[in-house]
Subunit: 411 residues, 2 copies
């Protein structure tokens, strides 16, 4: 099991009772609840609420081992995985859930100056950078006109929209009070989107609602604009506009983990590995691709499934179940994604939810639905109530939920 | 007001209603609740529970400004303080609460290899180092015999005892489960103390209780031993004994902030500034010394008060009250420390409490008393209940208590 994200954890869960030795390897010692990363970046949640110790998840499964190591190569012919920090490991079944890296689409300066939002260190680095800029302005207010407090967010997908809403709340409600000497009304939060809509994967009505809800929260939205280059304090758009901003958040695209290029496979858009209906790799029935690394075509709708936590979790669980079935000499079944709805939150009492059959929610109802679902999703074990207490309320239950190594200087 | 520790915060609290502009400056943007640092190092509490945003404490006091900056010089003649990051500031009244640094007493290798426990970055660095060592052993069990998991704690005062007890619980209860492949019974926790007792400032009975309670929790205690030198993986004692240990925690002594040497004052033991009964500096009735930087002789007992949070808080409050009285043309009063008892916790249901008049507690009762007092002390405002909720339970109240910059790479 390579990768301790939704895919890897989902697969291990389904193998915890099987008659097989399971090894889960991740380069971090924690599982990241990626949908809430933006809340770490905006100080609403602490890293341990969003990063849960991987070892903690499988204490009660004696057949499961967790190791922290970095994969350096995968030999599909010899069925062997090599690591930077430990000896190679041979496998009978392999689940690839190694995730993705941010795709900057060749924008000049982006790898160096943009803040991605894919890992927990990403979120912590962004959070610290923004606080540092406010402190700098507190000492030297002239920096405001240079854009020290301005945040440009590239991409009006869920990551961009949720980040924009959360930064607006952080700026207008919290930091405004913390820094009474800073004329914070000059601090801009700007979403730059190449397309012509906010949350384009949602229905028209929800797009309009989201745009208005963001604008009501003082977020500026620039549609049909493309970033050309990024400098530490300036963002240049293809239209010629130059934005003064010391912070640029990249919420615009992913590409599969670079390790896929060593697999000698034909890759799809974003370097994703096309997998079959049973999630196995072409020509490798013992290797499964799940999560952001995989290009999964839905059995029912024939569309390619999006890179979402819910898809990764279900695919991981399916891979685990399939291996378990094979061990019991049962036939594998094709993967069917159950779409429980897509949601995005903009701020307190403002969110959008879209269900498969066309129903949708906005406002307070959507916001409460969002909160309930995410609290429930935070749980990866069977006992949801226990996990919610352990994890979200770690602070006062005296559970040691902080056993994670988040290195803020890590790239 | 220089320094946002117990002293500085105590002083500002008492000046929040006075007819005076108050400027509180600290090099961090958070107040550190030092008595619980060891709980951060042992993953029990998260940094935001122990480091509270300074700006947050005085939102409702319009006469109070908080700035984050590093003091570079104090000119007592010109009544002016200079900073690394902002323009100098002139003062009418100055409260010095700049704290201390760790005193390694010239032990070779200590500044480089020992882990002090005075600041929040200290605690985070220690925590990450210990987890990293466990992960290394998980990959290569041979490292155990080299002492990769062994922790040597120098000093059997409250810092040393509380750290030892907390590490024992972390090791035996949590990490043992997290790392089933690691033969953790080989991991040693050793307290090295130059004197002949554990918690020497407590009564004999409490000393014996504490020593037994630690030993019951598998902590080894070496009395009458002095550290000679420290290498990354070895600790050499003056007796000739060499301990294999990749981690050494320094809980053995403090010296006042090095800035005191530029004040042209005669200093006391540990470079502390001797202050008068009204806490002012000799020859400078407009400058107060509070907290770990000050050498305060108790008015009643004529003994020098220890470097404790409770002393710092009361001294800070007294300085604030005195300035407030002077502004109202009232006469200052001498400082009297009210000793509410001293306590140290060893682990779950094990602690010692010693009250002024000779009464004492041990075991579960002491542990509960310790918990209650520390929860109450975590509050620095008038409304204790509210602060406890805001602070300790920050995770689920959705208060943004995480607005702090903890740079783990900072020294």
């Amino acid at each position: 099991m390579l990768g301790g994200g939704f895919g890897g954890v989902g697969a291990v869960k389904k193998l915890g009772d099987a008659d097989v030795d399971v090894l889960l390897v991740d380069r971090h010692d924690y599982h990241t609840f990626q949908p809430l990363l933006y809340q770490v970046a905006t100080d609403l949640l602490e890293p341990p609420t969003v990063g849960h110790p991987l070892r903690d998840l499988f204490h009660d499964r004696p057949n499961v081992r967790v190791k922290q190591a970095t994969v350096t190569g995968i030999d599909l012919e010899k069925r062997r995985v090599s690591f930077a920090e430990m000896r190679p490991v041979a496998y009978d079944h392999l689940v690839l859930g190694l995730g993705a890296t941010v795709n900057f689409f060749g924008v000049a300066g982006a790898p160096k100056h943009a803040f991605p939002m894919y890992t927990l260190p990403d979120a912590v680095r962004l959070k610290e950078h923004v606080l540092e800029r406010w402190t700098a302005v507190d000492r030297d207010p002239d920096l405001i006109d240079d854009g020290a407090l301005n945040v440009v967010i590239v991409g009006a997908g869920p990551t961009g929209v949720e980040s924009a809403g959360a930064f607006a709340e952080l700026y207008r409600q919290n930091l405004a009070k913390d820094y009474p000497d800073v004329p914070q009304d000059k601090a801009r939060i700007i979403v730059v989107e190449a397309g012509d809509a906010v949350l384009s994967m949602f229905k028209k009505g929800l797009q309009t609602y989201s745009k208005k809800a963001l604008e009501k929260r003082t977020v500026e939205i620039m549609l049909g604009e493309v970033v050309e280059s990024i400098e530490p304090t300036r963002v240049r758009l293809k239209s010629g506009t130059v934005l003064n901003a010391h912070t640029l958040i990249w919420g615009a695209g992913l590409q599969a983990n670079p390790l896929v290029s060593g697999l000698h496979l034909e890759l799809q858009h974003g370097n994703r590995i096309p997998v079959g209906p049973d999630l196995t790799l072409p020509g490798h029935p013992d290797v499964y691709g799940v999560g952001d690394i995989a290009w999964i075509t839905d059995t029912k709708t024939k569309t390619v499934l999006p890179q979402l936590g819910s898809v990764a979790l279900q695919a991981g669980e399916h891979a685990g179940t399939t291996i378990s079935r094979i061990l019991k000499k049962k036939k594998p079944e094709p993967f069917e994604y159950e779409d429980k709805g897509t949601m995005a939150t903009i701020g307190r009492r403002a969110a959008v939810v879209q269900f498969r059959r066309g129903r949708s929610l906005t406002g307070t109802t959507a916001w409460l639905a969002w909160g309930t679902v995410h609290l429930a999703l935070l749980s990866t074990g069977e006992d949801r109530a226990k996990a919610v207490v352990d994890w979200t309320w770690a602070g006062f239950t005296h559970e040691r939920s902080g056993r994670i190594q988040v290195d803020a200087s890590e790239r």
